[in-house]
């Protein structure tokens, strides 16, 4: 399978199964489009008005050579790879819901503005410690373990965050593990003491801001309805600088209220941020914020415009990283990782303030997905196996998709939310992902 497209006059051809990426001139690009359906003679005839016979012959030879080297039209060699690698499920990452409460009332919040549809509650230290014990026990031989402090807003319960880190540092020594902590915060309560603790202990910090003041304040108000931009921007800038503009993300959400989201990305870049992620909302159908099919042409244009500006700024030595344009073609994840995806429900679980276990933070609150509880020592490993089995080949739409090894089958929670089945991907999410991958690869061709 190949995928061919043209972006800003660059003809790009991906060989899906090998991962090879090529730039074609116009003649070769036309030839490759006919290569599998017509004979060499027919192709020469078909294209005779555009190119000389010799040019077509030469292009054809080059395509044949790449095909023989396994760099074009290569066979899918992975469909049984996961069976070969099948093993006992291992948990390696937890999302700890430190606090099911929030000091903001973001309009698009998938967590019902912090409560996840339940009571507003805080995790206590004992539950946090039990979660760490659970992770160490279920991680088997895996050394690198991740814990994300999530909410609601985790800074509202920061003493427990500190206690959990302290406990995990003791346990990692005796268990031979390596904990990497991250925290996701809206920055409203950020102060010097918290900043220092985060910088000493957290591998990554995700700082929520949506971009321009008007965008941010419309969607991310406080409980009293007032905006947060003026308060959080200097704190977030200071945090980013204190981490030498690395190992953090400013993370925003766009909705159909700001389809011109590239302006929000560039606004954040103009404020000095070097690590930026602005992502499409996942909102219930017809909530008013959800991205609809008719929004896609505008959003595709936005991604393309952003890609062009991204390359321009990079060439002017004032570039930045945009999370969704970052693709490591050389040393990215292995194909096993790419088949399986994000690991939700088997490698990655969420823990609520009560200690309940869910497949990921987005499933929290949906009782039928509850997998157990860290206090009760109960864990539904059958459900874990169901999630582990889900991969690009169990999803009919993915098996035939050229982008499957870049997105790895998409988000299980989005799939369930829109299609009631973790194996039926969320179509609008797919379309946006494909456009982002096209842009990301185009950016690589410009280096």
């Amino acid at each position: 399978m190949i995928h061919k497209y043209t972006m800003y006059d660059t003809n790009i051809v991906l060989d899906v199964n090998s991962g090879a990426v090529h730039v074609f001139d116009d003649a070769a690009f036309d030839v490759v489009g006919l290569y599998k359906n017509e004979t060499r003679k027919q192709i020469i005839e078909s294209l005779s008005e555009k190119y000389s016979g010799q040019v077509i012959e030469d292009a054809y030879e080059e395509i044949s050579e790449l095909e023989s080297k396994g760099l074009l039209f290569s066979e899918d060699a992975y469909s049984d790879a996961l069976n070969k690698w099948e093993r006992k499920p291992v948990v390696k990452a937890l999302c700890l819901h430190i606090c099911h409460d929030c000091n903001l009332r973001c309009k698009y919040c998938f967590a019902s503005t912090g409560s996840f549809g339940g009571h507003r509650t805080m995790m206590d230290l004992d539950t946090g410690k039990k979660a760490i014990d659970f992770l160490i026990e279920k991680s088997a031989g895996r050394r690198n373990l991740e814990v994300d402090f999530f909410g609601g807003e985790p800074l509202m319960n920061f003493d427990v965050v500190k206690g959990i880190v302290e406990y995990a540092r003791i346990r990692e020594k005796e268990s031979g593990k390596n904990f990497r902590f991250t925290i996701t915060t809206n920055a409203v309560l950020l102060n010097e003491e918290i900043k220092d603790f985060i910088n000493k202990n957290m591998h990554n910090v995700v700082l929520s801001i949506d971009g321009r003041k008007e965008t941010n304040d419309k969607m991310r108000p406080r409980v009293d309805g007032s905006g947060t931009y003026d308060r959080i921007l200097p704190k977030i800038q200071d945090m980013a600088e204190s981490r030498n503009q690395d190992n953090y993300y400013v993370r925003g959400t766009f909705t159909r209220e700001n389809l011109d989201f590239s302006e929000d990305v560039l606004h954040l870049a103009d404020q000095g941020f070097k690590q930026i992620s602005i992502e499409p909302v996942v909102a219930a159908k017809d909530s008013g914020y959800d991205i609809r099919e008719q929004d896609l042409p505008k959003l595709f244009e936005e991604y393309e415009n952003l890609a062009r500006e991204y390359v321009k700024r990079d060439s002017e030595k004032c570039g930045f990283n945009f999370f969704h344009f970052m693709i490591d073609l050389q040393q990215g994840p292995c194909v096993i990782k790419r088949l399986g995806g994000c690991g939700s429900g088997h490698e990655y679980l969420a823990v609520t303030p009560e200690g309940d276990l869910y497949p990921c933070h987005q499933f929290v609150g949906d009782e039928k997905f509850k997998m157990g509880n860290v206090h009760e020592g109960v864990f539904n490993s059958d459900s874990q196996k169901d999630f582990q089995k889900s991969n690009v080949y169990t999803k009919k739409d993915c098996a035939e998709c050229w982008a499957k090894f870049y997105c790895s089958g998409g988000c299980a929670a989005n799939a369930y939310q829109f299609n009631n089945d973790i194996n039926v991907p969320y179509k609008i999410g797919c379309e946006l992902e494909k456009k982002r991958v096209e842009c990301a690869i185009w950016i690589k061709t410009q280096e």
């Binding site: 690698w85 991250t182 999370f323 040393q331 990215g332 995806g341 090894f405 989005n414």
Partner: protein, 46 residues
Amino acid sequence: MKHIKTINNATLKNSLAKGGCGECQTSCQSACKTSCTVANQSCENK
């Protein structure tokens, strides 16, 4: 080659041989939390 420039070779196939150690970061922890992207992760086992 006159008509084709290869930007990247068959890295995916090569990764099958030694892949699957599972030590890499869980993608949702890195930034996204709502949108799965895996190809921007790095391998821990180079």
